[in-house]
């Protein structure tokens, strides 16, 4: 071997391969060795092979050519090697061109699926050498033009594909291109690593994608066709056809791989536009032909279909966009119409408790702006309307228990809707509460009715009901109580009713009573319930006192009528104006004894008999020797006792003897003489009403199958009109000091304040109990000015000053 060879030059290495490769060829004409032959040629970079190379590359490769080369190489194997090294080895001026041709050929073969004959090692080395010898630029531009020309060919074949095969062809070519690109990058890796970063060129893989985009996807003939085809498939799927989702996914994935802007411009934007048009049309169609419930079902189905579509073959980021389109076109644009739809809209659903439809509406409307507030507004006005009807219906006012029960039912119904359909949304709960607060206070008698409802429950309604159920009922009552603006009115009534329950011993359960008082206490504070608690204490101490009385005076009393006295603290109880009556002498004796006893044990107290609140059990014997025990009120007892001394008493006689107030007396006579089955007295003339000229007789023929007969007082559970006025007046009276106290408290802190601010502050302080009327506040201020708690400012008449 010639010694002037530089081992670093490629010639020697290539020559070595050449000899190895050549020696592998035993039979020149064997076609099977064509590949080996190619290797010889491609590996060769010495001048000696120049001739072959030119022939080889100048003419299109044919079998004959190859055979020719094979013969040449095998024949001249020894000779040319020696010959080669006779010349000085200089860098081949056509070296770059030749090496590039090899690589270009390889790229062709890769695209033609003919890569099995390529040697990775050799191609990598050639690419490496080109970069190493500063031919990177040539390699890069060569790559761009070769790849471009292949892609142009591919574009033609995709364009030529017919109809439905278009997408399939595109997908197939895309897969092939990706594989080819991977292989090309494999052999050009060295360029990718060194030449491309230092020259700020596009890396091979990205370059391949860009070229695909520019030469395939963005060509006139393919771009619109691709877009239309994709959109057509989506539309067909929407109309119920089954499409090849895998194909769709792959093609869409291709657009995403080409960059998010390609996906957006070439597919997503037109897709969204088309969808908007489609759903605009469809919503129009549905709204004309469906009722609200069906429409919502269809909208929900469409929405779910779109979400599913995104998960199957679109970019996940498209989900928000497409659902926005559906929401806008199918829900937002039609929601007012849907809600107000005749016979099937929101009001209808609410009335018929259509939880599924309501839930669907909630879930769909929640997605669009103002959707829920629309539902809320319609629902609020519906509840207010029905509530208003409920509280103002004169029929309902007849039965307070039923009235309150209906309120509770209405509340339960709406609570259930909010719970089942509206996801317990706070917004709806608040709307419900404000609606109830609104209409309950439309009726001034609501506080009274609620108290009556409680009274009814605590008298009998809760008999035999478990403790938990009692709690539930009480909680519901408390909820209604919270809606009341005039809580003090409720308190007033509640006190009356409680007093009656306690005194007549009619309360079902003391636990329930106490539990409710506790609830009122947590709601309104200690002040609100202290008197109510005082009433319980009085009852308890009364029992003790009575025991003491009988223990001390038992023998003295003998067989006189037994007495049970409730000592009520003045102020704790709703006392009416003291209306005394003349008690029968036997009773009076016992009462006086008790009075002496009590005042003897307690210093400095005053006892007043509340005869209007008492009751009595008297034994009566009728004509046939029939004995009955009559349970009557104190007044009735007084009247009946008169008949022990004489029959046929006129109204005036009775009135004079007992001195019972006219109204009470009439009421009491009515219940003794006019109620069937309880008429222990007989009246002449007969009639329902008591007249001043009537005469009363002991009814000998009275008969009852019960031994004990309870003679109730004819008294409406509800208050009569004048009583109502009276209670109202008392409430107003009670409010005065409260308002004054509030004004003084505020003025003491602020010293100077104008009128409007005082009214606002007072209202704020008192609204937990009642809503004070501004006119009343003004009067109270004037009263305070008169009493010199306040004075008007001398310059500004609207300003008040506090006078310490």
């Amino acid at each position: 071997m010639p010694q002037n060879l530089d081992p670093a030059t490629p010639s020697l290495a290539n020559a070595a391969i050449c000899s190895i490769a050549a020696s592998l060829i035993p039979e020149p004409k064997n076609i099977a060795f064509i590949e080996a032959d190619v290797k010889v040629i491609t590996a060769n970079e010495s001048e000696t092979f120049e001739k072959f190379r030119n022939i080889n590359l100048g003419i299109n490769r044919t079998e004959i050519d190859i055979k020719f080369e094979l013969e040449m190489s095998s024949q001249k194997k020894k000779n040319f090697q020696i010959e080669a090294f006779k010349h000085r080895v200089v860098v081949d001026p056509k070296y770059a061109e030749k090496t590039w041709k090899i690589l270009e050929h390889a790229i062709h073969e890769i695209y033609n699926h003919n890569a099995s004959g390529l040697s990775f090692e050799e191609l990598y080395r050639n690419a490496y050498n080109m970069v190493l010898h500063k031919f990177g630029e040539k390699l890069y531009t060569g790559l761009v033009s070769t790849m471009t020309s292949h892609l142009k060919e591919i574009a033609l074949s995709i364009e030529a594909s017919q109809g439905a095969l278009f997408l399939e062809e595109l997908e197939r070519k895309w897969t092939e291109h990706n594989k080819a690109l991977q292989m090309i990058r494999d052999i050009l890796m060295y360029m990718d690593r060194t030449f491309i970063p230092s020259t700020h060129k596009t890396p091979v893989h990205e370059l391949g994608l860009n070229l695909w985009r520019d030469n395939i996807v963005h060509t006139i003939k393919i771009q619109t066709r691709l877009r239309d085809r994709l959109l057509e498939l989506v539309q067909r799927e929407r109309s119920g056809e089954v499409i090849d989702r895998g194909l769709m996914r792959n093609v869409i994935k291709m657009l995403m791989d080409l960059g998010s802007s390609v996906y957006q411009e070439d597919f997503e934007k037109p897709f969204l536009r088309l969808s908007a048009d489609f759903y605009r049309g469809e919503s129009q169609l549905f709204i004309e032909s469906c009722d609200c419930g069906d429409y919502l079902k269809k909208a929900e189905k469409r929405l779910n279909e779109e979400i599913e579509r995104v998960s199957h073959y679109l970019d996940a980021k498209s989900e928000v966009k497409i659902t926005n389109v559906v929401e806008k076109e199918m829900i937002e644009s039609q929601m007012t119409r849907l809600v107000h739809m005749e016979n099937s809209g929101l009001v209808n659903m609410l009335m018929n408790d259509k939880y599924d439809d309501l839930g669907r509406m909630y879930n769909l409307f929640r997605r669009v702006p103002n959707g829920l507030s629309l539902i809320r507004d319609v629902m609020t006005s519906h509840i207010r309307e029905t509530g208003k009807q409920l509280v103002t219906d004169p029929e309902r006012l007849k039965d307070p228990v039923d009235f309150v029960q209906r309120l509770l039912d209405e509340k339960d119904k709406n609570d259930k809707i909010i719970h089942l359909a509206f996801n317990n949304d706070k917004m709806f709960q608040n709307a419900l509460n404000s609606s109830f607060e609104h209409f309950i206070n439309l009726n001034v008698r609501s506080p009274e009715f609620i108290s009556l409802f409680v009274d009814d429950k605590l008298r009998k309604g809760l008999k035999g009901v478990s403790e938990e159920d009692v709690e539930t009922v009480l909680d519901k009552v408390m909820m209604l109580f919270r809606y009341l603006q005039e809580k003090d009115v409720f308190e007033k009534y509640y006190k009356q009713h409680l007093a009656k329950r306690l005194l007549s011993n009619k309360s079902v359960s003391e636990d329930a009573e106490r539990s409710l008082i506790l609830k009122l206490k947590t709601e309104c504070g200690y002040q609100f319930t202290s008197k109510l608690e005082g009433m319980f204490t009085d009852i308890k101490t009364s029992d003790d006192t009575m025991q003491g009385f009988y223990a001390a005076m038992g023998q003295e009393l003998g067989d006189s009528p037994s007495l049970a006295v409730h000592i009520l603290t003045t102020g704790s109880w709703p006392t009416q104006l003291t209306t005394t009556c003349n008690l029968p002498p036997e009773i009076l004796t016992v009462c006086d004894k008790f009075k002496t006893y009590y005042l003897g044990t307690h210093n400095g107290r005053r006892l007043t008999w509340q005869t209007n609140m008492g009751s009595a059990d008297i034994k009566a014997t009728f004509n046939k020797g029939q004995k009955h025990e009559l349970n009557v009120s104190t007044y009735q007892m007084c009247v009946l006792m008169l008949f022990n001394n004489g029959d046929g008493l006129s109204y005036t006689e009775i009135e004079q003897a007992t001195e019972i107030p006219t109204l009470e007396l009439k009421r009491c006579l009515q219940s003794l003489a006019c109620v069937k089955g309880k008429n222990v007295l007989r009246k002449e003339p007969m009639g329902k009403d008591i007249g001043e000229d009537d005469t009363f007789f002991f009814n000998d023929k009275f008969a009852s199958k019960f031994y004990k007969v309870k003679i109730g007082t004819v008294v409406a559970q509800k208050e009569s009109e004048p009583e109502k006025q009276e209670t109202r007046q008392r409430v107003e009276e009670d409010r005065k000091p409260q308002i004054e106290a509030a004004i003084v408290r505020i003025m003491k802190a602020r010293r100077v304040l104008d009128h409007n601010n005082i009214v606002a502050e007072v209202t704020k302080q008192l609204q937990s109990r009642f809503l004070p009327n501004p006119v009343v506040i003004k009067k109270r201020i004037e009263s305070l000015i008169e009493r010199e708690f306040l004075e008007r400012d001398k310059d500004d008449r609207k300003l008040y000053r506090y006078l310490a």
């Binding site: 290495a13 990775f120 090692e121 494999d186 690593r193």
Partner: protein
Amino acid sequence: MAIQKDRVKFNVGGKIFETTATTLAIAGRDSYFASMFDENWDLQLNPSGDYFIDRNPDCFSILLDLLRTGELYIPPHVPEKLLYREALFYGLMGHVRTAKWGSFDGNRLQPLTSITGRAPGDGTAIRASPEGGCCVAHGSMVHIYDWMLSEQHPINLDYQRVNDACWVGPVDPTGLVISTCERLGRGQGGMGLFNTTTGELRHKFSVTHEGVVKSYTAGALSFNDSYNLFSSCKGRSNEYGIGVWDQNTGQQVDFFYEPPGWSLGDADKLQWLNGSNCLLVATLFPRKDNCYISLLDFRSKSMVWSWSDMWSPANGDDRRVRDAIAMEENGSICVVNEFEDLGFMDLRRESSSVRWSSRSRLMKGKMPDEPCYPKLALHEGQLFSSMNDCISVFCGSDWVLTSRLRRSFGGSICDFSIGGDRLFALHSEENVFDIWETPPPSIV
């Protein structure tokens, strides 16, 4: 084929190697081996049952060992450059780089080598690149060295004096900004962004005052995270201040004019503070008679913190600040005087004064013939200070001296720089610089 499935036989330049596909897989997808064994390639075995690679067998053996063990051992007879070239061929450069030296630790540094330049001594600055290479500014030339320490094409600034250089950073590893002096009468000077591989000028940063482009002298440089470039600028008509440019577009985005009685345009050092969004500007003795250190907030166009020794009573020459560095984590600025005494100032307090730490170093009277002013650097909680021919490393909350780096050649250290997990120190008497690196963590 009698070879078991996992076993792979190579013939590299005539030498047979046998290994496994598992070992080769460690090379990663971007390597020669991964591509070679990709199913796309219909690999052809030689009749002897191996794959031929036309490369240097000695290097292959080292690289194969690297894949097998993760450790790099270069036998003395193999030149490093040769190995690097082969690693680049196989796509194993990342592996070599990682195996060669570990992450930076000032206390474990070991000298790698010293490189001598062609020009005489007295270099201006040395700057470590994020990749582990460096550049040395010298007169009007900037010499570039890659991480393998082979010199690239130098950048010649047409006889304009280079003042500072600054690597753009990881986003553009080849980008280098160079600031130069203005050349009177030609409108040249200022700053440019160069590609260090090709030497091409990518942007020239110009300064505009009242709509007119003016020539200027660019001094110290700094970058921030939002790709802004800062430089101290001196224009001819007293247009002194700090210029701000967008690194990507090359456009000037802001200019902070020097307030009267202060110094910004002459600054020796700029440092961007990420936490407080401020720029530290330090002009130091002897460039000016007094030292001026300030923090600039560009959003409010205000100086949010400042210190100058013209306010403090002169106490002789021994306490002149020669370099300053802000340490955001400690909320302080560290300064150093020519005797390498460290001083600290509180960043959180206005009108702070220097608290000198009492380090008893017997420096006075022992100055070398050609003293260099001390310089400071901070790297992950370690403070570095150069003085004469050695660099001190300080650690911990009270900055205890923990290590000393010294090589006895080239005279005093005039500049040093830390980057790419390496420390570069440039000597002043002779044109030579040292490279220090942390050995990789031991495998066992």
